[in-house]
Each structure stands twice: as structure tokens, then as C-alpha cells.
């Protein structure tokens, strides 16, 4: 019998022990073919442990995301949306603000021309090309969603991160800082979000910026609470104790260890907030708090205008509404898939 021990894969090598005697390999007695076969098989076995690069958790999450049909569908929807928003305006058939066909609209007689070969989606109540307006409106909608969410995310993460690291690592003084920050957040949270938005809009006057700030502000407490909670949980984990035991400085622990491990839920929330931000922007525009210039197309404003003419031309509500729904749906799909991909329970 030939001893195979030394050839077998030992990815976890024995600690160097003085008493371990490694028997010498002996492949000599075999025919070349048998030898090759055996080596192939063992190579196959060892392949799992070969020199492939390690995959970080983000990379693993991305891999899971790629294999999730919901994530792929969501991403495709969003890419289309972004594409339309970015380059759509360059290709629209008409100027979205041009009222060149106003003479065809006779509101007194309840006539708003519907889809035709010339105007795919028909005209709106001011005689503008509806198709061009929907396409160009995507850009405004995307802008509102992204800017508002980014605002909420940045401010929320700053506050939540401050509170979280202070409470988790700062001892008694840290708990006091956390207490102050969180009470402010609680006050924000206690206010009905739409009311808050309305008051901000009232303060700054109706404009697109108002809508963005208003929506950003109402999502601040959500992000702040989420990040703080997540950081507190991480601050109690063993690897933080381990870093402390190594002598790593506390601010470094907060930034390098706690924060990156706490960001998962916040990212998921951000995608979901993007979806709601678009809907809320529509709602605020609907209430007349958005851009007062009706010439610039935005889905929420279009929806508002269309609603008063629901009986005459219901299709005018459908175009922007479907746009909003599909976009929000795309973000939600991606958000849920991201949540699944980052779920620690799925990690092996």
C-alpha cells in the first residue's frame, strides 16, 4: 500500500510540531497514467483552497444581488429611468414647454386632443406635447428623489453616526451627547411628515428646492435612528472589544470598524426612501408646494394639473402616475433585494 498522506490537501497545515514526522511521498510505483489521474483528482480537491483572491462581504452581497431576479428587474427598470432622465430630453420630438398646439385645445368644450401619430401621448391642457413632457419630467423627478434622499442620508448619517459612536464608545459623556442629539431627532420624528414639509415650504416659498429640502428633512430622523441603532448593536460586538484590546483609538474604531458594518440597513433604507421621496415629491407638488412655474414638466405637477381634468382626459393622469409607480417599484425591488443580500443570516 502506498502512503498518500503527504499528497492529500491540507489547507489547514498542522502547526509546526517537532514530533510530526511526515512520511515521504511515493508515486514512483505507479504507471504514468494512474499517477496523472490521481494527481488530477487531488488537484481538483485542492482547487477550492487554491490561490484565488478573498471575497469581501460587499463582493459577496453583490454576487447574491446579481443572482436575484428581483434585483436584476429593479436595476433594469432604474437604469431605463435614469437613461430616460439623462438623455431623453435630447431626443424628444418637441420642446416640452412649447404651446404651439394650443389652438387645438378647447377647454370650454372639453376638448383635449388624444394620442395621434404626431403626438404619441396627445396634448396636455395647454396644448403642449404630452410625450415630450413625460420624458423631460423624468429628469426633474429623478433630481428631486436623489437630492432629497441624499440630503436626508447625509444629515441623518451625520447625526446618527455622531450619536451612535458617542453612545457606543464614549462612556458617560458620550451618552449625554447621544441623549441630546436623539431628543432633537425624536422631535423631528414626532412631527407629522407632511405637515413638516408644508411648514418648510411655507417658510421658503414654493419651489423645487423647497420640495427637496422638505422631503430630505423628513427622512433625516429615519436615517439617524437606523444608523444609531445599527451602530449601537455593532459597538457591543466582540470585534470592537478586540480592537479596543489591540489599543486602537476610539475614533478609529468608530470610523473603521463600527460604521462600515452598520451601513447595510441604511443603504437598504436609502433605496426605499428614493421610492417614497418620488411619491412624496409628487404629493407636495400636487399640494402646490412644488415648482410654481408650470412650464417646467415634473410628474407630480403634471399629475396635479391632470387631476382637475380627470373627466375630460383621464389619460393625462395615467402617464405621470405610471411613471411614478414604475420608478418607485424599481427602487423598492432593488431595496428589498439589497436587504436580502446584506442579511447577515445568509452569510456563511
Amino acid at each position: 500500500m502506498t502512503d498518500l498522506t503527504p499528497m492529500l490537501p491540507a489547507p489547514e497545515p498542522r502547526p509546526a510540531e517537532p514530533d510530526s514526522q511526515t512520511p515521504t511521498a511515493s508515486l514512483a510505483g505507479l504507471t504514468p497514467k494512474a499517477r496523472r489521474q490521481r494527481l488530477d483528482r487531488l488537484a481538483e480537491l485542492a482547487a477550492v483552497h487554491a490561490e484565488e483572491k478573498g471575497r469581501s462581504l460587499w463582493a459577496e452581497a453583490f454576487r447574491r444581488l446579481r443572482r436575484n431576479p428581483a434585483a436584476v428587474a429593479g436595476t433594469v427598470v432604474l437604469l431605463l429611468f435614469v437613461l430616460v432622465a439623462l438623455i431623453g430630453p435630447l431626443f424628444v420630438p418637441y420642446d416640452p414647454t412649447s404651446t404651439a398646439w394650443a389652438d387645438q385645445v378647447k377647454e370650454g368644450q372639453n376638448i383635449i386632443p388624444g394620442p395621434s401619430a404626431q403626438h404619441w401621448f396627445g396634448l396636455d391642457h395647454n396644448g403642449r406635447d404630452e410625450f415630450s413632457r413625460v420624458i423631460v419630467g423624468a429628469r426633474q423627478t429623478l433630481l428631486v428623489g436623489v437630492v432629497a434622499t441624499a440630503l436626508g442620508l447625509i444629515v441623518g448619517c451625520l447625526l446618527g453616526g455622531l450619536a451612535g459612536s458617542a453612545y457606543g464608545l464614549g462612556g458617560r459623556a458620550g451618552r449625554r451627547i447621544d441623549n441630546v442629539v436623539m431628543r432633537v431627532i425624536d422631535m423631528l420624528l414626532a412631527m407629522p411628515s407632511l405637515l413638516l414639509a408644508v411648514s418648510i415650504a411655507a417658510l421658503l416659498g414654493p419651489s423645487l428646492t423647497t420640495v427637496m429640502i422638505a422631503i430630505g428633512v423628513i427622512s433625516v430622523p429615519v436615517f439617524a435612528r437606523l444608523l444609531r441603532g445599527s451602530m449601537l448593536a455593532q459597538a457591543n460586538s466582540e470585534y470592537v472589544t478586540a480592537a479596543t484590546a489591540l489599543g486602537v483609538r476610539r475614533w478609529r474604531i468608530a470610523l473603521v470598524h463600527v460604521l462600515p458594518n452598520s451601513l447595510g440597513p441604511v443603504l437598504v433604507q436609502a433605496t426605499l426612501t428614493l421610492a417614497t421621496a418620488i411619491i412624496e415629491a409628487a404629493a407636495l407638488s400636487f399640494l402646490g408646494l412644488g415648482n410654481p412655474d408650470p412650464a417646467v414638466p415634473e410628474w407630480g405637477v403634471m399629475l396635479t394639473d391632470a387631476l382637475t381634468r380627470l373627466e375630460v382626459a383621464p389619460r393625462l393622469t395615467i402617464y405621470p402616475a405610471v411613471g411614478i409607480i414604475i420608478t418607485a417599484f424599481g427602487f423598492t425591488l432593488l431595496g428589498e433585494a439589497l436587504r436580502e443580500a446584506l442579511d447577515p443570516k445568509l452569510r456563511r
Binding site: E12, R55, Y239, A242, L246, G247
Partner: protein, 330 residues
Amino acid sequence: MTAETLVELKDLQVHFPILRGVLVDRVVGHVKAVDGVSLSIPRGSTYGLVGESGCGKTTLGRALLRLVEPTGGTAVFDGVDLTALGSNAMRTMRRRLQMIFQDPLSSLDPRQNIESILTEGLATHGIGADRAARRALVGETLDAVGLPRWALSRYPHEFSGGQRQRIGIARALVLSPDLIVADEPVSALDVSIQAQVLNLLATLQADRGLTYLVIAHDLAVVRHICDTVGVMYLGALVEQAPSAELYTRPLHPYTRALLSAVPVPDPDVEDRRERILLTGDLPSPANPPSGCRFRTRCPWARERCAQERPELRTLAAGHTVACHFAEELE
């Protein structure tokens, strides 16, 4: 004792306040997790701390490293009282005091690769002139713990339990510390892997003259690697003796019960042995029994045990026991 003492704990206490209150916290009591423990560890030796969950052994280990703040007593390490150090001085001191954790996965940051984990301590303490010097040191340490070099670019979740524990050991080792506190270093590992890690710890001690404080619930593990063993019950030491002595001649009733409860993989031993079955559960450390803390579960408890708390008494060379009737029970 001729050997130089590296660690000397004197009456170390960790009392956690129990807080109640809606707006303002009020202290309504204390959990006496560690309630006056004194022990000393000679350089180059291994001290084992055993006891069941809730006995305060983990808290004691962390209090020594000031990962939880001691509320009383002193912890002298190589002539320096750690409890009196300011936070910066303590941080510098941490290079010499390292720790190995029970759960190798949760004690490694999942988003750091192995290289980053191992170099973090070096960077913190400014060891190694440049990146290359640190890399060399890290590589050397990997060899010492028996991990391949390609591990460097990998992440903790890509390793098996035993390998992760080796990473944890390497992280402590790379700083070339004097003392390593090992908190349940093998209890999360598979049986066949435990021996690998125990052997590794022994090899490293022999090569580098490390001093260990091993905290474990498994008496067989402790006996295997420790020179001196201390048995803890409800925040206090009840018995301390050289390892061989403690296992052949346990004097405290709790130690005896513990030893008799450990299953031995030998049917003959199992069939013959008489178990000292303890009744009841561990009392709450917030409200420990009067007198001897073990008396509520002790089969030999008498009246005196309820009134007078037994002090640690030396009954043989290096063998101390906190029991009024240790001689009679023998």
C-alpha cells in the same frame, strides 16, 4: 516562589450598578460580578480560571485588561498598576496585554481582510518601519500559527472555525505581548480542532515565553494546559492550587462537585464514579447568599457557613481554599 511575578491582582472588584428609573437613572443595587479576587501569575506560566457561566471569570479577565473598568482593587502588571493608568498610557500598554476570544468569527471584523486585521495593531503601536517590515512580521506570525500566506487577502468568513481562531491568535501574537488572556479559546471549536489550538498555544508559550491567563469552563482543557488553577464561584475564588494538586486532591466542595460532573470518555470510569450532584442553580450575583456563597448548594453546609464568610486559607504549598471545613471533608 522564585519566578518573577508578571501579574498581581489584589482584591479586584467589578460591581455593575443596577439602574432603574424613567428619566433619571437611580442605582438600586449592584451586581457583584467580581467581588474581591486576588491572584498572581508568574512570568511564563499559565493560570487557569474555571467556573460556570455567571461566576465572573470572563469579567475578571476583561477587568484585568480594562475592557471593563474595575470598581475596586488593583491589577499590577510588571510593576505597573493598570487601574491607575490614564487612557493614553493604558492604550500604549495594551501592546503587551493581548486577548484571544471565545468566538473567533464574531471577534473578527467581517469587513477586514486578514492582512488588515493583523497589521492594524502594528500600525496602532507604530511597530515596523514601513509596509514591507510589517508584512514580513505578519508573514512570520502566520507561519507561527500555521496559516498559509495566501490567507492575507482573504476575509474571516472564508475560513473554518479552527483557522479563524488561529487568526485571532495571530492578531494577539503579532504585537509580541507578554500576557495573553484567552477567554474560552477552544469552546466554540469542534472537538477534533480543539487539540490543534491547544497544542498551538503550548508551542507558542514554549517558543516565546508567553504568560497566559486561560479562562474556561472545561476542566479537562484547563487541567491540560495550566500550571495553576483557580476555581471561581459567584465572583470570588473558592480554591486555588497547582494544577496536578487540584485535580488529585480537590478540597472545596464546589471543586469536587465540578470534577465529578465532567463526563469522561471512558465507560469504565463513567460506570464506577460517584457523582456529587449539586441541587439547585446558581444564586443571583446581585443578591448573593450570606456567609459562604456556595452554602445554598453545598451538600455539607452547616450553620457556621451561613454566618461567616470563609477566607482563603493555605492548606498546602500553593493550595488555598475558602471553606470552613475543608480538612474534615477530605
